[in-house]
Amino acid sequence: MGESQVKDGRDKQKLTVLSVILIQAAVIIYTGSSVCSKLASSHPGTISIFGAELHWLNWVGVFWLFMEVVCLGLYAIFWQQIIKKFDLSIAYANRAFAIFWTFLWGVLFFGEHVKLLNLVGVVIVFLGILLVNQDAE
């Protein structure tokens, strides 16, 4: 690790209802990035910056791209603190819920249809994530 010292011996916080709510709030902000990404992608077009034309998104699309960065930026700030204060297994188990949240946003905001195999697949993926991260430290 070079000149850096690793903080292996630090105490980790216990999981409380409040901490779960706070971590899930961070996860929901993270899933907001997918919503913004989809919204950005639905505004193709051209923007002009300093005379140069960029053919991809219009300014509304760029706004949603910016909002995606905002979501990820906020999430990054929270996530760095979460993985400092909690075991990674707890952090990743909570983050695994992101696929359920995004599912909800897909249905609520974009009218996407949920099929049985979608749900079965997501539950299996979720269990897989829990298993992979069960002994993370």
């Binding site: 899933t31 195999l117 991260n133 069960q134």
Partner: protein, 117 residues
């Protein structure tokens, strides 16, 4: 069935792969002592880590623009868990346990079943 799957969902798997490399940098930074709270965020590992995530983010926008549904993106991105297990072994010498192997098998199985819908 799988032959109806939008091939652009693979962009999300690529995005997750890039993000997994980014996670390695972020984890290294998170486990190191820093002189100040500001330097916890403003150091090259965090900056490069999030730059990689930004690149992955742009891939996501392209994918969604090609008709990938919101519900599909994050599910495909869970392939990142497989990468994290492999890269954690390579970067930090973390053991690949049976739980990790079976967990990854479940993730891949779940992704396939999800896309059968």
């Amino acid at each position: 069935m799988l032959n109806k799957v939008n091939p652009w969902i693979l962009l999300f798997a690529v995005s997750a792969t890039i993000a997994s490399f980014a996670q390695m940098l972020l984890k290294q930074s998170a486990t190191e002592e820093h002189a100040s709270v500001l330097k916890e965020y403003l150091n090259w590992k965090v900056i490069v880590g999030y730059a990689l995530m930004f690149a992955g983010m742009l891939l996501g926008v392209i994918g969604y623009g090609k008709g990938v549904e919101v519900k599909q993106g994050p599910v495909m991105e869970t392939i990142g868990n497989v990468w994290v297990v492999l890269l954690s072994r390579a970067f930090f010498g973390e053991p690949i346990t049976k739980k990790k192997v079976w967990g990854n098998v479940l993730i891949i199985l779940g992704i396939i079943i999800f896309n059968l819908a």
